[in-house]
């Protein structure tokens, strides 16, 4: 049986891991504006709860930390490093960078790498990895990630869609449920790196990933930006979010910085850094700057065809810049430089 989007989602994976107490209360009406959250300590008691049709249900629901969190922690115990790829802005290259990072880590055959795509409404990872026609297989221990190569596995909502172009029109709680399942029911196994790709913004997905992963320990977040102020503005918000949520920031990567004209090799700044770009923002906010990656039209192409940019265009200056960034990411996580890329 392949997992489907129809509820109820798979629960029978491991009876020892399931119990009646971990069920979130089933609500009879949508949550009101200032809902403290049906699982929170304040559930059923907050100001907003007065008059809410869910009040009795929430008030009687089991309180305390989510009982699924220890299960998630146990599931992810075999993963050495977990990192988030974040950006307040869309289309700055979070998914592209995630795939690059994963390919780079996986270029060392000793590493096992996983990607978890938490962008529920616009999953891009499967296409960039060239596995968008795959479906998830279920074994006795859980959902099996889709393996792109020997040592590179991927999990995304795209694998569960009956049609490739189907829209996933979900509100927050449903998205949170699926993210939890990606962590709880997926058989990640022994891994060196798990890279979590996120949607733009600072909302449900980000809060959930953070709260589910807190216990098992996240190495930190890599923030992506493009050089122009419109993007930096949103990234500033993301930094604020990380600080509020207590996520360690490994550093900032500036993507799409400069474009080399293939005809005259003149470098033009398509997205002009009028306010100093990522480098200055990093300095201003006191976080490390991991590097600037120039734009290369071949990256887009490699992503469209689901190929590895590293394997196909190793001579591109973009490739060199990316490798430098990956090394810096490794350094921030405290990994030995020779273990990161498998190069001496």
């Amino acid at each position: 049986m392949a997992p489907s989007l129809e509820e109820p989602l798979l629960q029978s994976v491991d009876s020892a891991l399931t119990s009646a107490t971990q069920k979130a209360p089933s609500l009879v009406a949508p949550e009101p504006e200032h809902c403290p959250g049906p699982e929170s300590q304040q559930a059923g008691k907050g100001d907003a709860c007065a008059g809410c049709p869910n009040q009795a249900i929430c008030a009687s629901a089991p309180k305390g930390p989510d009982p699924d969190i220890p299960i998630i922690t146990r599931r992810l115990a075999g993963i050495k490093h977990k990192l988030l790829v974040l950006s307040g802005k869309g289309g700055v290259g979070k998914s592209t960078f995630t795939t690059m990072l994963a390919h780079a880590f996986a270029s060392n055959p000793a590493n096992v790498v996983g990607i978890m795509d938490t962008d529920i409404c616009g999953p891009s990872i499967p296409k960039m990895m060239g596995v968008d026609d795959e479906t998830i297989h279920v074994s006795s221990t859980g959902w099996e990630p889709v393996w792109v190569s020997e040592n590179l596995g991927v999990m995304s909502v795209q694998f569960m869609l009956p049609n490739r172009d189907d829209a996933v029109i979900w509100r927050g709680p449903k998205k949170n449920g699926l993210i939890k399942q990606f962590l709880k029911d997926v058989e990640w196994g022994e891994m060196d790196y798990l890279v979590v790709d996120t949607p733009p913004g600072t909302s449900d997905e980000h809060l959930s990933v953070n709260s589910y992963l807190k216990e098992s320990g996240v190495d930190g977040a890599v923030l992506i930006t493009t050089p122009q102020e419109v993007s930096l503005l949103d990234v500033r918000k993301e930094i604020d979010f990380c600080r509020k949520a207590g996520i360690r920031i490994l550093g900032l990567v500036e993507n799409m910085s400069g474009f080399v004209c293939p005809k005259c090799t003149h470098t033009s700044e398509i997205f002009r850094a009028t306010t100093g770009g990522g480098r200055r923002l990093a300095k201003e906010m006191g976080i490390s700057f991991l590097g600037a990656v120039p734009l290369d039209s071949r990256i887009g192409m490699a992503c469209d065809y689901g190929e590895s940019f590293f394997d196909n265009f190793p001579d591109s200056p973009t490739c060199a810049a990316l490798k430098e960034v990956v090394r810096n990411v490794g350094k921030e996580m405290g990994v030995k430089p020779e273990d990161v890329l498998g190069e001496a």
Binding site: D234, I239, G300
Partner: protein, 318 residues
């Protein structure tokens, strides 16, 4: 109710982030305004509002009025010069130098409500839904020809709430439909297809597809490079049988106009989309004054959007 006096409401949607929804919204608004319509722009991207930055009104704050908010004005309506002199109007020097008229332009965004521009808005779904509803019901737009709604990427809380509220509060005649923005590469197209399916499921009419970032004209040698490939938007529009409104290249001068407020200047012999850009006399050093909307007329993208908007207005008003 605040939507009563609005003639047409159009959404700008895309499944993918960073394809230029806000940039397209901005340009559609400026162009509509230049064609004499009064325009409102509502930014429902709550966690990443960009509209204030695009219109250069980041420091503006929303004023409270009994029963709601007053949107932030970008510029007021202005009659063309010849019409003004014909009517015997005598206005101040600055205004008299205006060659073309334009309609009024107002904006509303969560960005105006934040104390600090770097503050994160960390909200879950229900709170976002409430905010979207409030934006639709409590803003005093006054009478508008067009209300453009800029959206965040995806097909989630904001979009569901937006469509639901519009269905309840706006008449079918008011709901013009949605403009879909994409970039040409397959990664973006695959997300945008999901957005089209969202529109189909929710019964939102699709006004057309705009392909943004189609090609980049090197300012040094005028060679056009397809940074994010080309033609994908048109193929998708055909596949889904929706109108294709046009391709918009990347113009660094437009970005400069937005970021620095400089009137676009093109090097000699720049040809964009088959037309030679005039190298207007505004050399650097000359004082750069005027409204954003006037400066925009010097931008290479203006003729493209002018055509697009005419096509859109034709489709909406018939």
């Amino acid at each position: 109710m605040s939507l009563n006096d609005i003639k047409h409401i159009a959404l700008v949607l895309s499944g993918k982030g960073g394809v230029g929804k806000s940039s397209v919204t901005t340009q559609l608004a400026l162009t509509l305004s230049l064609q004499g319509y009064s325009v409102g722009v509502l930014d429902v991207d709550l966690t990443g509002p960009s509209i204030p930055r695009f219109f250069g009104i980041e420091n503006a704050k929303v004023r409270q009025a009994p029963g709601g908010w007053i949107p932030v004005p970008v510029h007021d309506a202005q009659k063309p010069r010849d019409e003004q002199s014909a009517n015997g109007h005598t206005t101040g020097d600055g205004e008299a130098s205006q060659p073309i008229g334009h309609g009024s332009l107002h904006c509303m965004s969560l960005g105006f409500l934040l104390a600090n521009r770097g503050d994160a808005v960390v909200w879950r779904g229900p709170k976002k839904t409430a905010m979207v509803r409030q934006f639709l019901s409590d803003v005093h737009w006054g009478s508008l020809d067009y209300l453009l709604i800029d959206t965040p990427p995806g097909t989630s809380d904001e979009h569901i709430s937006l469509v639901e509220t519009l269905l309840k509060e706006a008449t079918p005649e008011q709901q013009a439909g949605a403009v879909i923005v994409t970039t040409p590469q397959a990664i973006s197209i695959s997300d945008v297809k999901k957005e089209i399916n969202f529109c189909r499921k929710t019964g939102v009419k699709i006004l057309g597809v705009v392909e943004n970032m189609a090609g980049f004209v090197c300012p040094n040698c005028s060679e056009c490079t397809n940074v994010f490939s080309k033609g994908g938007g048109e193929v998708m529009a055909k596949e889904f049988e929706v109108p294709f409104l046009g391709s918009v290249p990347i113009d660094p001068m437009f970005i400069r106009l937005i970021e620095e407020g400089k009137r676009p200047v093109y090097p000699e012999g720049t040809v964009i989309d088959g037309q030679t850009m005039e190298t207007n006399g505004h050399a650097d050093g000359v004082e750069d004054v005027g409204l954003l909307v006037e400066k925009y007329t010097s931008c290479s993208l203006y003729p493209i959007f002018d055509g697009m908007v005419k096509q859109l207005v034709g489709a909406i008003e018939t």
